[in-house]
């Protein structure tokens, strides 16, 4: 029998998180700090709107690009928050989560052999999606001493004649790093000079704790070079609704909608109605959740300081990325021993790129009470390791 699989898909490595997931799932009483989604339920008024849409029998396809009223709300929201104006009819499309938008953008923008610059550590889908779109991933290893921000020098070094796209994902999963306006301005200058495009994954934009999130699309000359991706999962605690969106120049969005039409048809209708409610009346919920995350962030940073674990101050998302290099173990070894000895699951930094070696991703999408228990165990574990090292 012939091999049913394509070479392309067999060459793509499975997600680094998978292996750990299997081990953790075996352990019955483990507590986890490994979740990449909010611990809050979707606010009730948003769920209620979804239920209402179902009751009303709004169970049909929407237009391929998404409900018009939703695109109008998105347009208003982006104009207000990011000071970038997108035409709801031609420059905005609603997708099945931000993940679909990333995939669609790459597939619509790359020719075989085009290089895509991906700063790591980063979310797990950029490299495989680039490969499936026949692009060539070029990795930049971001540095702890730069607080995991991308610098213009690093970017310049990675650019070749074949570079077409830069993927920017800030606030960042897994590091929690953000890029401020001045940082982005330097990047934008290089992008324009070298005639590149940016796919900007801003899914954590609402969870920015130090100042306000700035989109690279809002900088002069960048709107026409940027696909801005965002969604409802993190800001409104709506991960399971699978709803995101992409905004960008008509030239690109038009092709993305074409592909989306063939591959997906449209994003879930129930979710789209709920999302309209989220954008119209969800601001207080977002503020409440942001404040809760920020309190936990402060709590964790303080706890790390007390146990002498180096960790740069992350400005966004709901992750901290402490450094464990002093223990002379790989991230995976550390995470595995921590799991076995203290029954707490964290994600090794290497799940998000090789340069995550020596770091852990700790999620604070948990209640303060849960975090306290886990941190107590981490402190005990770290202390034991240090005692063993002294001997």
């Amino acid at each position: 029998m012939r091999n049913p699989l394509s070479d392309k898909i067999t060459e793509v490595k499975p997600s680094g998180i998978r292996k750990f997931f299997d081990i953790v799932s075996e352990m019955k009483d483990a507590i986890s700090l490994g979740v990449g989604e909010p611990d809050f339920d979707t606010p009730w008024h948003i769920r209620d709107e979804g239920i209402y849409a179902l009751e009303k029998g709004r169970t049909f396809y929407t237009s391929n690009a998404g409900l018009k009223e939703l695109r109008e709300e998105i347009s208003k929201y982006i104009a207000e928050r990011q000071k970038v104006v997108y035409d709801p009819l031609k420059e905005i499309m609603v997708t099945v989560g931000g993940s679909e938008a990333i995939d669609m953008a790459l597939r619509c923008m790359l020719n075989p052999g085009d290089e895509v610059i991906i700063p790591e550590p980063c979310y797990v889908s950029y490299v495989p999606c680039t490969k499936m779109a026949d692009g060539v991933p070029v990795i930049i290893n971001l540095k702890n001493e730069n607080r995991f921000r991308l610098t213009a020098e690093e970017l310049l070094e990675a650019i070749t004649d074949k570079t077409k796209v830069l993927i920017l994902a800030f606030p960042n999963n897994p590091t929690g790093a953000i890029m401020e306006k001045e940082d982005l301005e330097k990047i934008a200058k290089v992008v324009i000079e070298k005639d590149l495009y940016v796919i900007s994954d801003e899914i954590y934009s609402e969870l920015t704790f130090t100042g306000k999130h700035v989109s690279i699309a809002s900088l002069p000359g960048m709107r026409e070079r940027t696909i801005m991706i965002n969604g409802f999962s993190k800001a409104y605690a709506m991960t399971g609704w699978r709803l995101g969106y992409a905004c960008g120049p008509e030239l690109i969005i038009k092709q993305m909608i074409k592909l989306h039409q063939f591959a997906i048809m449209c994003a879930p209708t129930t979710s789209q109605y709920a999302a309209v409610e989220a954008l119209r009346n969800g601001e207080d919920d977002v503020n409440m959740m942001r404040e809760a995350y920020n309190q936990r962030r402060r709590y964790l940073l303080h706890a790390f300081e007390e146990m002498g674990l180096p960790c740069f101050e992350p400005g966004g998302a709901f992750y901290v990325f402490p450094c464990i290099k002093e223990f002379g173990m790989t991230s995976e070894e550390f995470a595995l021993r921590f799991l076995q000895e203290e029954k707490v699951a964290v994600v090794p930094g290497t799940a998000f790129g090789d340069c995550g070696e020596g770091f852990l991703r700790i999620s604070y999408a948990y209640s303060l009470e849960d975090l306290k228990v886990a941190i107590e165990r981490l402190a005990r574990f770290v202390e034991n390791l240090r005692r063993q090292q002294e001997k």
């Binding site: 997931f21 953790v24 483990a30 979740v35 611990d39 889908s125 936990r296 799940a351």
Partner: protein
Amino acid sequence: MREKILGIIEKNSKMDLKELAVILGESEIDVANEIAAMEADGTICGYHTLIDWEKTSIEKVSALIEVRVTPQRGQGFDSIAERIYKYPEVNSVYLMSGGYDLLVTLEGKTLKEVSSFVTNKLSTLETVLSTTTHFILKKYKDHGTIMAKKFEDTRLIMTP
């Protein structure tokens, strides 16, 4: 800072000062001073514990009583409200808009105890025109806390 402190301790008055200071990003002394000031000026009136009495062997009966009264010249509802809230068995007294004037909540050990309060004490007050007593059968949610069921984390244990 006041609003933030109140936002937290309204839900969890047990949180210690040090932790409160850490999660608010403020110094412990500032937080302590702010709380002391709020206690002094009556912004913070007390610290309570939310108890689900059904989980205990202690019998309790709670009632809501709608009271219609005749307001008194020069004092409005204040003096009659005072007459009522001075009874220790009364939990709360609110002045209401709408079909009645005062809403009184009450906790007693037995039905008899509550009804005797209403018949002997409350309705005999001169200014009270009428009362309607409602007994609470079950508390689903109280003070923003759902009593019926515990939060269960159904998320996948590890996701990217």
